[in-house]
């Protein structure tokens, strides 16, 4: 399962607008995508789940995808969300 580790760059953390962009970008892909943060995991295609993670600025999150287009999904998310999430580190 491909994974990406990111540090949230946005000074407000993963608040409503970037979280909504996240959900919209993730929803374009077939694969299952989860975000792990602080020992919890949320469906990246669910805004309420993402907001519930309470991701604060400078915290580390892991994106993991499982499915046929998982590599493409992670690459697209990293590119599109770079303004909010900073530069990703790919974990093979």
């Amino acid at each position: 399962m491909p994974e990406l580790t990111l540090v949230v760059a946005d000074p407000a953390g993963l608040h409503a607008r970037p979280a909504a962009r996240f959900v919209q970008a993730a929803s374009r892909f077939e694969c299952q995508i989860v975000i792990r943060h602080g020992g919890r995991e949320a469906d990246a295609k669910s805004l309420i789940a993402l907001l519930g993670l309470a991701i604060r600025p400078s915290s580390e999150i892991v994106l993991a995808a499982e499915g046929p287009d998982s590599e493409a999904a992670l690459a697209a998310l990293a590119t599109e969300l770079a303004p909010y999430l900073g530069s990703p580190t790919l974990t093979p």
Partner: protein
């Protein structure tokens, strides 16, 4: 794509909420509003709600989710719904979710092409969203 209709006693509140919803969810989702009375007072108006519903239904074949504030909004909405053709009424869901959070969550869900039932579920789930989430 599913559309939204936001009903409030205050036109200012409805307009501001629409701005907020569009900024979070994007401009693809149609967001109609019915705020205040015809003569610009605080209150609700069945004809204004009716007009917003018709316009939203015309633009959103998959259906429309309605979020409302309180009190007479429910009564005015009921009257407006009675005014619709049964086939149109079947494409309207009235959310039990909170107006602000429900509208935002519903719009984002709608923006990814979700069904009316999925959008309704997202709006209802907004009631469980913590105001100050535990990190």
């Amino acid at each position: 794509m599913v559309g939204l209709v936001l009903i409030s006693h205050s036109d200012t509140l409805a307009t501001g909420l629409r701005d907020m919803v569009v900024q979070v969810a994007g401009t693809d989702v149609a967001v109609g509003i019915a705020g205040g009375t015809d003569d610009g007072r605080l209150g609700t108006s069945a004809p204004r709600i009716s007009a917003a519903l018709r316009s939203a239904l015309a633009g959103s074949p998959e259906g429309v989710i309605v979020l409302l504030d309180l009190g007479s909004a429910a009564l005015s909405l009921e009257l407006a719904l009675e005014d619709l053709d049964p086939a149109d009424r079947d494409r309207v869901r009235v959310s039990e979710g909170p107006l602000v959070e429900g509208a935002v969550l519903a719009a984002v869900q709608a923006s990814v092409g979700a069904s009316l039932a999925e959008v309704e579920a997202a709006a209802a789930a907004a009631a469980t969203l913590a105001k100050i989430p535990k990190a």
